[in-house]
């Protein structure tokens, strides 16, 4: 492992540990309002100041990081499983199945990602509880983000279908689902791992985009998207630099993911 990848791993672990310690580091919680100090600059009581309704920004950053860092992998897991099921199986079965799956995949891919996200999000009720909004946001990411991975897995499944060991397994009488689960799927593991890890930063960025556009996690729950929405109220960049802390943290985390995954990119391609 290269030096920079080790540094990136350490940064990710550190951010994860700090976000897990949110209950101890910011015991007041993300929703408690200090109405005497609404919109206050950083101080001993509020390290990153407070938002416009007096909530501690440091606490919100920690809890928001926790939500994004835990739910993005969950969404990535859903999308990878779907990709394996649809793409891998279609590639393995070949013929009409593969063509039908590729048509659906191409249809999904022909629509810009953010467009698809906001369209599907709008189809569901917007006035929902914060916890449900978190679930809906990351579920949509997981359920819609499988197509690019499915394309790669379809090609992998197609090549595995004609692999020597699969022919040997067929000749020994292994067929159908058993052949797929025992011989084909395990050989897709490297691509599946790569797709899973690559999806995480992509989903973190997508959630941030949705949050800024007001279609992400609902208040008062914090997420990187809803925290970045605060930047909308700025008049100049240098005015309140502490408001950029969530952005810096997001960039650091996504960059770390990119550095850690630099080898996975090659596998996924």
């Amino acid at each position: 492992m290269s030096f920079w990848r080790r540094v990136a791993c350490a940064v990710l672990l550190l951010v994860l540990a700090i976000s897990l310690a949110a209950n101890w580091l910011a015991p007041a919680g993300y929703a408690k309002q200090d109405r005497e100090a609404a919109g206050a600059p950083p101080s001993h009581a509020h390290w990153l100041g407070t938002d416009e309704i007096g909530r501690d920004r440091f606490a919100r950053v920690l809890y928001g990081t926790r939500i994004s860092l835990f739910l993005a992998p969950a969404a990535a897991l859903i999308s990878t499983l779907l990709a394996a099921l649809v793409g891998g199986l279609a590639g393995y079965l070949g013929g009409t199945w593969a063509r039908a799956a590729m048509t659906v995949i191409d249809l999904f891919l022909s629509l810009p990602w953010l467009f698809l996200l906001i369209t599907v999000r709008a189809l569901l009720p917007l006035n929902v509880s914060p916890a449900f909004s978190v679930l809906v946001t990351f579920l949509i990411l997981g359920l819609l983000g499988w197509t690019a991975a499915a394309r790669v897995l379809c090609a992998t499944g197609s090549s595995l279908r004609n692999a020597d060991f699969v022919w040997q397994a067929r000749a020994s009488g292994i067929r159908g689902t058993r052949l797929f689960w025992i011989h084909v799927l395990p050989n897709m593991k490297p691509v599946l791992y790569a797709q899973f890890w690559i999806s995480i930063p992509a989903f973190i960025l997508s959630e941030a985009n949705l949050g800024i556009l007001g279609l992400g996690v609902a208040e008062p729950l914090p997420s990187w998207g809803s925290l970045l929405k605060e930047l909308e109220g700025l008049v100049s960049v240098g005015e309140e630099p502490w408001k950029f802390v969530p952005l810096v943290l997001l960039v650091v985390v996504v960059t770390s993911f990119q550095l850690v995954l630099s080898k996975q990119d090659e596998v996924a391609a």
């Binding site: 249809l107 189809l123 930047l231 909308e232």
Partner: protein
């Protein structure tokens, strides 16, 4: 062969529009809240009027009938009426489309100009520090959400088209850089270098023709990226284009409007991809 390829793309375009239209109609029909009509809550309406409203909704219960009805209306240029803006969808699209087209075209032009300059200079100069700097800069830009770049463009008074260019540039650079690097490792290009051809000649006579069709395909794909980038840019910069309209429709759950925009965007994206594919095909044919 070329005619067949164009016909095939045309067929795909029509099939996608029909299939996409059906999926959109199904989603609109199945979306929570479709059966309810705010007008039914009007205390001035008598029971017969409310019954008539419910009857009108009941007729739309069958998805296939609902889709065919929508399709019939669309054939006559009636794309429905926006629920939130109370205007015909076709009028809204006609009004907003030119701005988005201009924004996306300019953004693509600027983004691709930057990509080409950076890719070719890194290829020509072959200075590790410059290459690393370009990789670092684009890597950093990729990690910033598109909506944040749009917000920063408002703060720094940057035109919307430039914000779109900044969003698509790092993503396209990565692929374009890899394509050009891959072309440089082709045997005939290694031979050309060994024979002492100048770097400029190698680049424009051998590398560009080899990587060209793939770069063109990438340009086609980046249209989709630019359209997606138009949503946050228009929404956050206050530009009245299709992206802003889609965002407003999403916030107001204006499903008929959103579905029409989705189909339009899908068609534009497919058209761009198909055009890139056909041009690439002609290019490869000329080379052969």
């Amino acid at each position: 062969m070329l005619g067949r390829k164009i016909a095939r793309h045309g067929l795909i375009l029509v099939a996608t529009a029909l299939l996409g239209g059906f999926l959109s109609a199904a989603m609109v029909r199945l979306a929570p809240g479709f059966d309810t009509d705010e007008a039914a809550l009007d205390p001035h309406l008598n029971s017969q009027s409310i019954q008539a409203l419910r009857q009108a909704r009941t007729e739309q219960h069958n998805i296939f009938r609902f889709y065919l009805h929508s399709l019939q209306l669309a054939m006559h240029g009636d794309l429905g009426t926006s629920i939130s803006l109370k205007q015909p969808v076709s009028t809204l699209l006609q009004d907003r489309f030119p701005l988005t087209l201009r924004l996306v075209s300019l953004g693509l032009l600027m983004g691709w100009a930057a990509v080409m300059v950076l890719v070719f200079t890194t290829a020509l100069l072959r200075v590790t520090a410059y290459d690393l700097l370009a990789t670092f800069m684009t890597g950093l830009l990729i990690c910033v959400p598109a909506a944040v770049l749009a917000l920063l463009s408002v703060l720094w008074n940057i035109p919307g088209a430039l914000a779109i260019a900044l969003i698509i540039f790092p993503r396209d650079y990565r692929y374009a850089h890899n394509l050009v690097n891959k072309a440089y490792s082709l045997p005939h290009i290694v031979t050309a270098r060994a024979k002492g051809l100048s770097e400029l000649r190698i680049l424009f006579w051998h590398v560009v023709p080899s990587a060209g069709p793939q770069l063109l395909a990438l340009a086609g794909v980046s249209v989709s990226l630019a359209i997606a980038a138009a949503i946050p840019v228009e929404a956050l910069c206050g530009l009245a284009g299709i992206g802003q309209l889609a965002w407003q429709a999403a916030l107001a759950r204006d499903l008929p409007l959103l579905m029409n925009i989705t189909i339009l965007v899908t068609l534009v994206t497919l058209l761009a991809n198909s055009s890139a594919d056909v041009i690439g095909y002609v290019w490869r044919g000329q080379q052969a």
